[in-house]
Amino acid sequence: MTALGHIMSVVAIWTMMLFGLRFAVAAGNWLLPLAGAAWQLARCEGPDTRICRRRFLQAVDQLHIDLHSAITTPWSATLLFAGSVLIGFAFAAGSAGDAAQLVSHHPEAWTAFDIVTDCIAALAGVTGMAFVQAATSRRRTASFLVSAALVLTGLGIGVVTL
């Protein structure tokens, strides 16, 4: 593998892993109060059940209100849908190369195509995830800076392990 290929694959794997982690933790943070209310509802007994159910429904409504108040910045909706488009195309592109190799009579002929589509998938997927993350976070610029810093650490690791 060439030096450029090594750096690119290290950056892609590293950023996709960390972004996935970050995505899951941030989304889980949003769901935390809902999980608490659901836990209380599950443990509820006797005449308190109606109160617990009302509290759970209130938690659901509160989550909706919180999301609504978090997406106040003017470009948030654009960012959200642009990120979704990028993630969708990333999935499609990433599987296109492998699908071509699967159905082809000469899979080796499609290796370069597979590598290129994987590159496109990594790039579009990471960018799209950063967009969606920034759209739902309360501080958009800081979120973008964090994404950039993670990509930079991936670059550093790729260069160091060359």
Partner: protein, 100 residues
């Protein structure tokens, strides 16, 4: 793996863990103060050198350096706060014992 590579890998992994933690804090809407950033900058070389030294001494593979560095960076703030609380309580106990 040579020594400087282990140290550099550890530093980058710790930085990534810290950035992840700070990013999670920011996105949850909690405030990040200058004190947090100062703690981050002071913990980065400490954890980086500890993980790097462990890696060179025990011959860790690259993936365990990365995992250890990310974990250290992620829990670094909590550890620092825990140590500070512990130190404060011990100090209060000692001064209390001195006063008696």
């Amino acid at each position: 793996m040579r020594e400087w590579q282990a140290y550099a890998l550890a530093a980058f992994a710790v930085l990534a863990g810290q950035v992840l933690r700070v990013g999670q804090k920011i996105e949850a809407g909690r405030p990040v103060t200058w004190r947090d950033l100062f703690v981050m900058c002071s913990l980065l070389p400490a954890f980086g050198s500890i993980v790097g030294a462990g890696a060179t001494h025990f011959g860790w593979p690259a993936w365990s350096i990365l995992v250890a560095g990310i974990s250290a960076g992620w829990v670094g703030f909590g550890t620092m706060r825990f140590v500070l609380v512990l130190a404060r309580q011990i100090g209060a106990q000692m001064t209390g014992a001195k006063g008696e």
